[in-house]
Each structure stands twice: as structure tokens, then as C-alpha cells.
Amino acid sequence: MPDIIFENEIVRAENLKKTFTLSRKQQKIDRTSLKRKVAVDGLSFSAYRGEIYGLLGPNGAGKTTTLRMLSTLISPDEGDAFVLGHSIRHEAAKVRDCIGFMTGELKLEGFFTPDYLFDFFGAMHGVAKEALAKRKRELFAKFGIDRFSGVRVADLSTGMAQKTSLVISIVHDPDVLILDEPTNGLDVLTAKVVTDFLSDLKGMGKSILLSTHIFSLVEKLCDRVGIIIDGKMAAEGDLSSLCAGSSLEEKFFEIYRGIKGEAL
């Protein structure tokens, strides 16, 4: 096996492939008779330290599957990926220790308070009690959660609950944050809370990998973008060189039509 040199690479995906077996119900929804669907088809890309990397694509393009593979929740059929040099195939626990993972929808139990959940997930990541208490004070104060730390998540506003969710995803001070559709389904105010939060995290030196289908989010936040269509990397690069004067939306549809050959 050749030596892998990562240097500033925080994530390196190499020829990732993932295929799912479709149930009859899914076959009906997808209007296909095929029993298997290739969700991710030989995807390779790299994300670098300190940047926000966006995976842009339509629904069903393979974004969520890719992020789930990188988070070690599911395994690739082929290929491998390395997060801070740790293989997602062979060092899943190490990968989980150095990433923060969050899906767009709030996935915290509404019964508990931010205070309790922060401590709980701190314990899940093996953070020492003293360090955890210090980190909680800092993060809660920085993001304005301290005043609501004793309120149940179910009783928080959507924005505060989303902030709580984001803060808890970085409880263990991970170097890499993986976010699946972080603003999906949120109202404009809450979406702004999230984008501001991500900008702050970038300012704190965190590396962020996010998936989205919202052009404005990529334009506002991302340093580099990878466009995924049908599980394949259709285009990749920093925004200015990729768009070359046109908007991201125009560029995306130009690429999309080039691949799918469909009139929109």
C-alpha cells in the first residue's frame, strides 16, 4: 500500500461507491423496475483544513449517502475515505472521535435540556468533566444558549434548538464538522442563525463539510464546492474558477443539462 500523504487534507474520498437494494415501495416511488440503485458512484474529492467545502446536488444525487459514509454510519461498497488520516473502513471509532456530525433536522430528544444533553454527549465522546464544564460555559455564552440551558429542547424556539444541536455536535471540539443539509426546512431567521454559526466556527479554525441543494448557502459560505449528479462528481473547484463569471445556479444547470440532457 503506497504511503498516503495528507498534509492539509482533512477529508480525502477515494472512489467511494455505494449501492442500495430497492424495496418494492421504493421502486414504485422511483418509477423503476431496477432492484438496485447506485447512490454514490466512484466519488473522489478532497477537503482542506480551515475551509468550508460544499457538496451541491439535487435530491437523490448521493450527498447524504456520502456524508453518512464519511461519518462511518454506513460503509462504502468500494473505495475508502480518510478523515484526518483515519480510514472510514478500518478506523471508524477514531473517525467518529474527530468529527462532529449533524443532519439538518433536529435530532435531539425534546425532553432534555441543552445543559443535560451537552454533558451527555460530552460523556459519549469521552470528554473529561472539567474540560466539558469549561467548554460548556464558553460555547453557551458565545452562542447565547446560557440563558436557556435549563429549558427543555422541546420548549426552545426553532433557532435556539438548532443552535443547541450545532453546539452539541462540537461538544468534543472536533477538527472536522460534517453537516447534512444544515438549513433544510428552516425559516429564514433560523437559517441565518445556522449560517452565522458556521461562519463563527470557520473563524474558530474548524473545517466544515456540508451538503446542500441551496445555491445561496454555497455562495455565502463555501470556499470550494463539489457538484454531485447521479452519485458522480460532475465538477469541483473554488467558486470563482468553477463559475467563471456566471452565477453558481447558471453553472449548475449548465452542467446538469450537459450530463442529463434534459430540458428543465
Binding site: 454510519l73 467518529r96 459519549m124
Partner: protein, 377 residues
């Protein structure tokens, strides 16, 4: 630390939610009130007017009289003209019991004894009608037990038609207990495991580096404790309502079983709780929603009730029953409740339940790692 945090979270979730506490304790209270109400409609006296034929003499008779009067009942000692007459009267339900002490019983019991020739106390009674015969037998046995094991009791029970309901109750009690345990396990496990999976909060935990067996144990251990609490509530509800339901004296009922019987019944119940919680956790982990898990678990519960009924009406199933979960506990409990001491069956059942629980925990851990089960659509 991680396991401890997972366990504490489940306890915190339960003990800080009054609704959940009520949900788990309410069945026991309802059972007690309902059964007591049924008992009051059926009727059933706790005090009796005993008429007991007596042949031979013993100091134990005075102790029996004292115990009976202390319980608020009255006793009339009768002398039979012939033993046959006394037996016929008991059979006909015209007398509560017929007690026969051998000659020089007290001397034989209190003096040096020959284990090969222990004196025999003959006891004729009927559990028919008002239950006085059975109640007297329980008191007399308890008094005689104070004399030690230097004699044997030869009991002859003439059962009447009225006993059928009573016997059915005795046979059904283990099934009822198992059903309550299952209900308690269902109420806490479905929501905690299938609910977390459905809401996606389990994914948040899976995205951390905590080991899957810890997640499985972090659910099963606390949920077993909580379910045991619910099962205890239901069990107490049944036990405390039995006197009113069946017209029995609870004190006598409890005295009629030894400490070892209670210990075994307790251990059998305790061994069943983590097994059922693990099983429902497995079903819940497999299911995509609480609704789906409830549907599967309801089918399992019906199968379990049928399995328990088999044991209630079929005796002498053999030692193989120890290898069949649930049926093993029902069978062992049934034997214990009728006064037996199935030590081998009980110990084997405890061991097998422990092994099955460990296997189920391992399967749940594996399922938590399986992406098709956890993230399949």
C-alpha cells in the same frame, strides 16, 4: 463512563417524567382496585366458623385454637363417633376438617425420635364451599411446622365444584404475572428504543465513538430496572387483591410458602425482565417506527400468553421446559405455588434466561451496527 452516562440518561428520562412514572405504576394500582372490586362482588369472608373433628390429642390443638381466635375466627372441636363418619362429614362439606393425631404424639415429637418411624398426622379437609377447610389447613400446618420435622402430615383434600375457580386462579397466577411483566417491559422499551430510532435521536448517539454493545446495554440495563418496577407494582396489585378476590387470608397465604420459595419466585421474575426487555429491544431495533414495533410485539405477547396457558393446564412438562424461555418461568412458578420445590428447574431456568438475555444483547449490538437495519428505507 460512557455506559454509565447512557444508563443514567434512561433513568433521568423516566424518573423526571411524572407521566412515565404513573404509566408504569398505574397498572398495579388499577389491578388492585379492580380485583378487590370483583372480590367484593363475589364475596369471600376472611373469618370463619370452623367445625373440626378431632381424634387424639396434642398441645398443638391449643396453639391452633389460639391462632384461629387471634385471626377473628371461631372454632368448634367435635369428637367423631367413628373415623368414617368424620371423613364423610368433611366430604359432604358439613365439617371444615378432620384432624387425627396418633397416640402419644407430643411425646413422640418432643422426645427422642426414630427417623424411620416418624408419627403421622392425618388431615382430611375440603377446599369446597367457603374455603374454611383450606384456611384451617393453612393455620394448622403453620402451627405444626413449629414442632419441627419430627413427624409427617398426611393430607387428604376433598375438592368440590367450588374449587375449580380457585384452582384455575392458582394456575393462572404465573401467567398473569408474566403478562404483567411483558406489559411493563413493552410500555418502557418500545418508546425508548423504537421511539429513539424513529425520531432519529439514536443516530446522533451512533455518530459518536461509543461502542454498540454499550448502547445496547445502556438501553437494556436501565429499562430492565424500570420494567421490574412496573412488574413489581402489578405483582403487588395481584398479591394484595388476592385475599379479597379469593377470600383468602393473606398472612396465611404468605406463611404457606417458605423463604426459599419466595426467593426463587423473585429470582425467576427478575430473570425474565431483562430477557423480555432485550427481546422487545431487538424487535424495536428492527422496526422502523413505534407503531411497527408495537404490532410485532403484540403478536409476540399473544404467543406468550398461549405459551403460559399451556403450562397452566398441562402438568409434568419435564425438565426440557427449562430451555423454553417464559414457559420455564411459568412452569417453575406454578410448581412453587402449589408447594413444590423445583430447584433444578428453577436454577436451569435462571441460567438459560441469563444466557438468552446475553445472546439477545449481542444481537441488538450487531443490529445497531447494521446499516440496513438502522438506515434502510
Amino acid at each position: 463512563m460512557k455506559l454509565s452516562a447512557l444508563v443514567k440518561k434512561e433513568f433521568h428520562r423516566f424518573f423526571h417524567d411524572p407521566r412515565l412514572i404513573i404509566t408504569i405504576l398505574l397498572p398495579g394500582i388499577i389491578i388492585y382496585l379492580l380485583y378487590s372490586l370483583i372480590g367484593s362482588f363475589i364475596g369471600g369472608a376472611e373469618t370463619y366458623q370452623y367445625q373440626v373433628y378431632l381424634s387424639g390429642q396434642s398441645l398443638a390443638v391449643q396453639s391452633m385454637q389460639a391462632a384461629i381466635e387471634e385471626s377473628g375466627s371461631k372454632i368448634e372441636w367435635l369428637t367423631p363417633e367413628t373415623p368414617k363418619e368424620a371423613v364423610e362429614k368433611v366430604k359432604a362439606g358439613e365439617a371444615s376438617a378432620y384432624l387425627v393425631f396418633p397416640e402419644n404424639f407430643d411425646a413422640a415429637v418432643l422426645g427422642p425420635s426414630d427417623p424411620a418411624h416418624l408419627p403421622v398426622v392425618e388431615f382430611y379437609y375440603s377446599t369446597a364451599d367457603d374455603g374454611a377447610g383450606e384456611a384451617f389447613y393453612a393455620i394448622a400446618s403453620a402451627v405444626l411446622q413449629a414442632y419441627g420435622a419430627r413427624f409427617t402430615i398426611s393430607a387428604h383434600n376433598f375438592m368440590g365444584e367450588g374449587d375449580v375457580g380457585r384452582l384455575v386462579m392458582q394456575n393462572l397466577l404465573p401467567m398473569l404475572v408474566v403478562t404483567f411483566i411483558f406489559s411493563a417491559c413493552m410500555s418502557v422499551t418500545l418508546e425508548s428504543v423504537a421511539g429513539e430510532k424513529e425520531r432519529g435521536t439514536l443516530t446522533t448517539i451512533l455518530a459518536t465513538s461509543v461502542k454498540r454493545p454499550y448502547i445496547a446495554l445502556g438501553k437494556i440495563l436501565p429499562l430492565s430496572c424500570i420494567a421490574a418496577l412496573g412488574a413489581t407494582s402489578s405483582f403487588l396489585g395481584v398479591m394484595l387483591s388476592l385475599p379479597k378476590l379469593m377470600g383468602l387470608n393473606l398472612g396465611l397465604l404468605l406463611e404457606s410458602y417458605g423463604f426459599s420459595s419466595y426467593l426463587l419466585i423473585f429470582l425467576l421474575i427478575i430473570s425474565l425482565v431483562p430477557f423480555i426487555v432485550s427481546f422487545i429491544s431487538l424487535v424495536s431495533t428492527f422496526s422502523k417506527s413505534v407503531k411497527e414495533a408495537s404490532a410485532y410485539t403484540s403478536v409476540v405477547m399473544i404467543a406468550m400468553i398461549v405459551l403460559s396457558l399451556v403450562s397452566a393446564f398441562v402438568t409434568d412438562l419435564g425438565i426440557w421446559v427449562a430451555f423454553v424461555p417464559i414457559l420455564n418461568v411459568v412452569s417453575a412458578m406454578q410448581q412453587l405455588l402449589i408447594g413444590g420445590m423445583p430447584v433444578l428447574l428453577s436454577l436451569l431456568s435462571l441460567g438459560m434466561n441469563l444466557i438468552y438475555t446475553a445472546l439477545l444483547v449481542a444481537v441488538v449490538s450487531w443490529m445497531l451496527s447494521d446499516e440496513r437495519i438502522m438506515f434502510g428505507k
